[in-house]
């Protein structure tokens, strides 16, 4: 069985996509008091802004990313802080923490994986003109969501 087939089979059998969707929805609803709506791939594009990354090691090896535009990131930080104006540091911190919580919530929902999977502390890239490429050579699951109409892309990319 090829690595691609193994990934697809495991993701299907373990219901990764609905599990990831639930993990994302819980983080946004509980920590931000906001709902996110799933969108079709390619329907919404993110231009620059923020990309937060959390590394996975152990039973799952790869990287979780959350990508959104600067205004969306600022809005997320304001929601988390209780509508207090957010500084630049707070905005990056908020996006990193959201990525961290989604990654943790996802792995905690995968039976048997949470015990054998470790998370890194988050890293955040920001700016107006950059491309993000993961060096993980395996497959990925990406979810495009709309937060008050603005795109948020969550991706789990694993080493094969």
């Amino acid at each position: 069985m090829s690595a691609d087939t193994a990934f697809a089979r495991r993701a299907h059998e373990e219901k990764w996509r609905p599990t990831l969707k639930l993990a994302i929805e819980e983080v946004f609803e509980i920590m931000l008091g906001r709902q996110v709506e799933p969108r079709e791939q390619g329907e919404l594009k993110v231009k620059g802004g923020f990309t937060a990354m959390v590394g996975l090691a152990g039973a799952l090896c790869g990287v979780f990313t959350v990508c959104c535009e600067a205004e969306t990131a600022r809005r997320m930080a304001c929601c988390m802080l209780g509508d207090v104006a957010a500084s630049e540091d707070h905005v990056a911190d908020a996006v990193g923490e959201i990525c961290n919580m989604i990654a943790g919530n996802f792995k905690n929902k995968l039976a048997g994986t949470d015990e054998r999977c470790m998370l890194s502390v988050p890293s955040v890239v920001s700016g107006g003109d950059y491309n993000f490429r993961s060096m993980a050579d395996g497959d990925s699951i990406a979810m495009v969501l709309a937060l008050e109409g603005a795109p948020v892309i969550v991706r789990l990319q694993l080493h094969s």
Partner: protein, 136 residues
């Protein structure tokens, strides 16, 4: 003079340990929403900073993340016994790490509560108020 020791108080002095400044604010807000009257909040961004903060701050409650740079939350809990004024202070872990092994490690090291992120203010209330001798 004997060092000041921890005793339960009506007004709470809290130490919040998390590498995310946004999360520290959320934890503080959740404590207030849970009805904890905060006299003072001390913040630290990792376990090592928290140990230093405890040298000059007597606290009644510690809320601590696990995954942090420099010194993680589990190591902090293991080392807190070296700080005389922090002995007996209840510690509640608030973390994305939800595995049973992390819970067992934290509780074995001396933590009194364990809350998984994402968390609601009600969960903070449920775990923290009994530790402060208050009804939920």
């Amino acid at each position: 003079m004997a060092a000041e020791r921890w005793e339960p108080m009506d007004k709470t002095r809290a130490l919040i340990v998390d590498d995310s400044s946004v999360m520290r604010k959320i934890v503080e807000r959740s404590l207030r929403q849970a009805g904890v009257e905060l006299e003072k909040v001390t913040e630290a961004s990792n376990g090592a900073e928290a140990l230093v903060a405890l040298q000059s701050n007597v606290v009644d409650l510690i809320l601590c993340d696990i995954n942090m740079p420099v010194m993680d939350g589990l190591e902090f809990v293991r080392q807190i016994g070296t700080v005389e004024t922090a002995k007996g202070v209840p510690i509640v872990m608030i973390t994305t790490e939800g595995s049973e092994s992390h819970v067992v490690q934290a509780l074995s090291a001396g933590a009194r509560g364990y809350i998984r992120k994402p968390f609601t203010p009600d969960q903070v209330k449920e775990h923290v108020l009994p530790l402060l001798g208050k009804k939920v």
